[in-house]
């Protein structure tokens, strides 16, 4: 069995002390396989965003370990983490994904430009086609619709061919049609290019696009589901009381 694309082992993240102590993650162990589309779901305060941040190298665990591939994140300093993010990780956030002063094409190639690396033009074209952005490349974020902005963000995440893409409520701000469109594109990325995607969401319809859903509550992983549909997810959520 290949090493998982990313995983945490006995991960805990604690904020504050004494009375105001918060256990965002409570000894969680979970792994995400390569080439699959995984979703993380749970109510507010379940730790899903925290998990994402810690496993992506944006935040540090209080105890336990986080891994991307074979690399243990706790061993890296800031510079190394930055390099890691540059080379191995892609991000799609809920909002503020793009640099307003750069156009879509430049935003897409941003991580590569920062690294000073060479662009694989053929791949770039493929991704752009996949995301249907060919005619919006020269536009600035202010001139793009919400859905287009998120697709550009997704394109950026894919163009660098990272080992894993983390998405935090990528369709959270979109209307249902744009959300649907975005999710289809992400699905294609996994199916056609073997990209690994780990996504946090609260929306069952969005989670239905994934191969596997992980349910969190109170900083722990409490359930999993393979091959979800919107109905089965809803049912499971009701059963879990979330």
């Amino acid at each position: 069995m290949n090493a998982p694309a990313a995983r945490v082992e006995d991960a805990s993240k604690v904020y504050g002390e004494g009375d105001v102590m918060v256990r965002a993650l409570d000894g969680m162990t979970v792994a995400f396989e390569k080439g699959r589309f995984s979703a993380i779901m749970g109510p507010s305060g379940s730790g899903k965003s925290t998990l994402l941040h810690c496993i992506a190298g944006l935040d540090t665990l209080t105890s336990g370990s986080a891994y991307i591939g074979d690399v243990r994140l706790g061993d890296l300093n800031d510079r190394q983490l930055t390099m890691l993010r540059r080379e191995k990780v892609g991000f799609v956030f809920q909002a503020f994904n793009l640099i307003p002063t750069l156009d879509a094409a430049e935003n897409i190639t941003l991580p590569i430009d920062i690294a000073g690396g060479d662009l694989d033009q053929a791949w770039f074209d493929t991704v752009v086609e996949t995301m249907s952005l060919r005619d919006r490349l020269r536009h600035r974020p202010a001139e793009l619709s919400g859905g287009q902005v998120q697709r550009v963000a997704a394109a950026r995440a894919l163009v660098a061919r990272p080992e894993i893409v983390f998405a935090d409520e990528p369709s959270g701000n979109l209307d249902s049609k744009s959300a649907d469109e975005l999710m289809r594109f992400l699905r294609r990325a996994v199916d056609d290019f073997g990209q690994t995607i780990v996504m946090v969401t609260h929306d069952p319809k969005v989670a239905a696009f994934s191969d596997r859903v992980v349910f969190l509550a109170d900083g722990r992983c409490i359930d999993e589901m393979e091959g979800p549909t919107a109905e089965t997810i809803l049912d499971r959520m009701k059963a879990l009381g979330g």
């Binding site: 941040h53 944006l58 935040d59 800031d78 510079r79 930055t82 390099m83 993010r85 540059r86 080379e87 991000f91 956030f93 809920q94 909002a95 503020f96 994904n97 793009l98 640099i99 307003p100 002063t101 750069l102 430049e106 941003l110 991580p111 430009d113 920062i114 690294a115 000073g116 202010a142 950026r156």
Partner: protein, 855 residues
């Protein structure tokens, strides 16, 4: 509302800190200037306040100018015999420069080298106090000021060489003196002799400078004055002691007043730059509080209330900062006095004089300027809609840039008009008008600047993307994305750079002119002049130098000239020319017959040799043209001794070397001035003599006169150039304060806009930008802004400088200081780098998670 304002000011104190600093600095300078000069004035007043038993002073009736005139010795007898006269105390004053123990002249760089007679009886009139030893009583004895004694190591009984009109002579130090508790008088050296010695060595022979009279106890002062008046010859007057004291006070006030004006001018510049900074800061702060202010609107505050809130906040900050500034100003004055003391310029001590006027003016200026600067941003704040509380409004306001262009151009033209008016029209306060005109021009340019900010940034910043990839690209974009803000930030730097450029341009022009003039007009190979710029104060050259040089076989002609004052007869009003000095007193020069052999006079009409006739004058062609005078016309002139004459114009000349409109012969000069020292000797060598070979013989003569030096044309030009450079450096140093404020402004703006771009920076870090790259990005943004400000500043500065130089005229050549400008550009870029250090560091340390978290 007030409470909200107070809480607001406290809450935002981080952002408002730099703004407060700018206010403190500007106010401190104003308060400091006033305190310093008031203290100086008061301390001099102390000297004049002493009770003196002298009732009258008899002296030559000199109307104006620097000369002091003389009274005949024989007068003493007549005065002694008068009823009601108890004591008659003659005194002599002049100049004598002490030499240090290695033979170098002491002082002479500005403050005079005073020499006068001092006796027990006469200690009344002067405020000199004996420190050690005793008052000199015979030939060979001298007392010197305490500062010179301690600084140059002269103890009682030591020999000291003094440079006198007649040459160098050795004396022995028998005492040291001070003024009140100051060791010297603002840097002037003082040597004191007894009266007879003073007469002898200062060249007075059978004359005195003045005679003081003490009346009998109980005698009627009026009657005594009448009696004295009766025995006085023409040209001699009797003045009451109180008048003398008043004159002394006035002299001090004038000098101090000038100093005060200079300091205030710099303080004013600091405040002007500060105003830019304050307005910019405030505008940004308001923009960042859009949400908060929107919320206030949402809960019912009106636009006008918001405006008041913002202004009130500014007011609170202004009041506190101004109060701190006044305190800092007092500290500044203390520091300034200590600094002057260190440089050898002492003045009588005492506590600092802090007048109510100082506090009021300083606080008023600080408060008013701040509030005025806050008005525009406050009005902007009132336009924030309530919905801003709920949504993130990325304000891409697109107010008409055309309106800005029109308004800005209008302001610029107004400033230009004021400037030209100040430079060319013959109004009273020319300097003030010129200054205001320049200020308005700055405002106009900064209003229009946003229109160029984008293009400039894109063009000048074009190497950035190539050099630093996307980091450079972002620097450039960030510098130009808010042109108004960029321009406002850069404008503060523009002012400082422009002013420095103006000074540099004027100095460069002066240097070029001197070089050109000397090259074109001087025929003589060598000149002898005082080591420090010979002015009437520092003694000039002994006439022996010229006569000894003439005796050398290598020398064909040694021509000398002197400088004196004149005035238009009448009320002392000035003529229609641009450069009349105070109260219409102008300067003239007196030359000997060899002048046209050492200088190309460029006589355009008439004959120079006619100047040898009595009652003649030669005029400069520009002056003659302005006054409508030509050869054969009568030229009315009043001399300092009060006599008026109509001189016959016998020639009109064009040379600029002497810088004088009016030229008379040395013989004529001797008739009206008793100044028997030369200003300069110009030497022309005999046919076939090699200048280098002749030099040792010339140097041998000059070596006997320690305050004189021999220069050829090149050396002379270099000397002038270095003196001008000194002025440039001092003024630049003083303007440095304005530049520092401007750089602080850049740092401030950067810091604030980084706060605004938190999310963006977080995103960049998330996708892999290192901390170093973030710092680099911010650094180059700062450099672009700084360079923008510097370039505009240089353009405006050169323009202003050229305008001023052209207006001064007087044969001044216009020269642009390219080398200096290049240096300023580099320094500005460096300044930008420095300004970006702290904001860059903080930007790179932003917590990535914090930055990308979404509420």
């Amino acid at each position: 509302m007030l409470r909200l304002a107070l809480k607001g000011a406290v809450g935002h104190k981080g952002r408002l800190f730099l703004m407060a600093m700018a206010i403190v600095l500007g106010v401190a300078f104003i308060a400091g200037s006033y305190v310093f000069t008031d203290t100086m004035k008061d301390s001099f007043d102390v000297l004049f306040e002493q009770e003196t038993s002298v009732d009258l002073v008899v002296r030559a009736d000199v109307e104006f100018g620097y000369g002091s005139g003389r009274v005949p010795e024989s007068l003493v007898e007549s005065l002694e015999g008068l009823p009601g006269v108890a004591e008659v105390l003659p005194s002599v004053y002049g100049f004598a420069q002490p030499l240090d123990k290695t033979g170098k002249p002491i002082g002479g760089l500005g403050p005079p080298n005073l020499a006068y007679s001092w006796s027990e009886a006469e200690a009344e009139l002067t405020e000199v106090v004996l420190r050690e030893g005793r008052i000199p009583q015979e030939l060979g004895e001298v007392a010197i000021d305490a500062y010179t004694a301690s600084e140059y190591g002269f103890a009682l009984g030591d020999p000291i060489d003094l440079l006198l009109p007649s040459g160098v002579r050795t004396f022995f130090v028998v005492g040291t003196a001070g003024y009140g508790d100051a060791d010297n008088l603002l840097g002037a050296t003082v040597v004191l002799f007894d009266v007879d010695t003073a007469q002898l060595v200062l060249g007075f022979w059978d004359e005195y400078s003045q005679i003081a009279i003490v009346a009998d106890e109980g005698a009627d002062p009026e009657q005594v004055q009448q009696a004295v008046q009766g025995v006085l010859p023409d040209g001699v007057e009797a003045v009451s002691a109180s008048e003398i004291i008043a004159e002394g006070r006035e002299g001090v006030e004038q000098g101090v007043g000038f100093f005060n004006t200079l300091l205030l001018a710099f303080a004013g510049i600091g405040i002007f730059v500060g105003a830019f900074l304050i307005q910019n800061t405030y505008r940004i702060v308001v923009a960042q509080r859009t949400r908060e202010l929107g919320m206030l609107r949402a809960v019912g505050a009106t636009g006008r209330q918001i405006t008041w809130l913002v202004i009130l906040e500014a007011l609170v900050v202004a009041l506190i900062a101004s109060a701190v500034g006044v305190g800092a100003g007092v500290g500044l004055a203390v520091g300034l006095r200590a600094l002057m003391g260190l440089m050898g310029m002492d003045f009588p001590g005492g506590s600092l004089t802090v007048l109510p006027r100082t506090v009021i003016v300083a606080m008023l200026v600080g408060t008013v300027v701040t509030v005025l600067s806050a008005i525009l941003p406050a009005r902007k704040a009132s336009k924030i809609p309530p919905v801003a509380a709920l949504r993130e409004l990325e304000s891409t306001y697109f107010k008409s840039l055309r309106l800005r262009a029109v308004v800005g151009a209008g302001i610029f033209l107004l400033g230009l008009a004021l400037l030209l008016f100040g430079l060319y029209a013959d109004l009273g306060n020319a300097l003030l008008l010129t200054g205001i005109g320049a200020g308005v021009i700055f405002i106009g340019v900064s209003t229009v600047a946003p229109l160029f900010a984008r293009q400039f940034g894109m063009v000048v910043g074009s190497p950035l993307p190539r050099a630093f990839g996307v980091t450079g690209r972002l620097s450039r974009e960030n510098a130009v994305r808010k042109p108004r803000r960029t321009a406002a930030t850069a404008s503060a730097l523009m002012i400082g750079v422009a002013l420095v450029t103006v000074v540099a341009t004027i100095v460069a022009s002066a240097k070029a002119s001197v070089e050109g003039t000397v090259r074109d007009e001087v025929i003589g190979e060598y000149q002898v002049e005082p080591t420090s710029f010979g002015s009437v104060f520092t003694g000039g050259l002994s006439t022996e130098i010229a006569s000894r040089l003439r005796a050398l076989p290598e020398v064909a002609v040694a021509s000398t000239y002197r400088v004196g004052e004149w005035r238009v007869p009448g009320t002392g009003e000035d003529l229609d020319t641009a450069y009349a000095t105070q109260a219409g007193v102008r300067s003239l020069i007196a030359v000997d017959q060899g002048a046209d052999e050492v200088v190309r006079l460029g006589v355009s009409s008439g004959d120079f040799t006619d100047l040898a006739r009595p009652g003649t004058v030669m005029l400069h062609e520009d002056f003659a043209a302005e006054e409508g005078l030509g050869v054969g016309d009568a030229f009315p002139i009043e001399f300092p001794d009060g006599s008026s004459e109509d001189l016959e114009v016998v020639a009109v000349y064009g040379a600029d070397l002497f810088g004088s409109d009016v030229v008379i012969s040395l013989d004529a000069f001797a008739g009206h001035y008793d100044w028997d020292r030369d200003q300069m000797v110009i030497i022309r060598l005999a046919e076939g003599v090699d200048p280098e070979a002749a030099r040792p013989a010339l140097e041998a003569v000059v070596a006997d006169y320690p305050n004189a030096e021999l220069n050829n044309a090149e050396e002379y030009v270099d000397k002038v150039a270095s003196q001008l450079d000194l002025v440039l450096n001092v003024l630049t140093g003083m303007l440095a304060m304005a530049i520092v404020i401007a750089l602080l402004g850049i740092a401030n703006t950067l810091a604030l806009s980084i706060m605004e771009r938190k999310r963006e920076i977080g995103l960049l870090r998330a996708v892999g930008m290192t901390r170093r790259q973030v710092r680099r990005m911010i650094r180059w943004e700062a450099v672009l802004i700084a360079v923008f400000g510097a370039v505009i500043g240089m353009l405006v500065g050169v323009g202003l400088g050229v305008a001023v130089v052209t207006a001064i005229g007087a044969g001044l050549q216009v020269a642009v200081p390219w080398f200096n400008l290049a240096i300023y550009l580099v320094l500005a870029a460096l300044g930008g780098v420095v300004a970006s250090v702290i904001p860059g560091w903080r930007g790179s340390r932003l917590d990535v998670l914090d930055a990308i978290a979404y509420e």
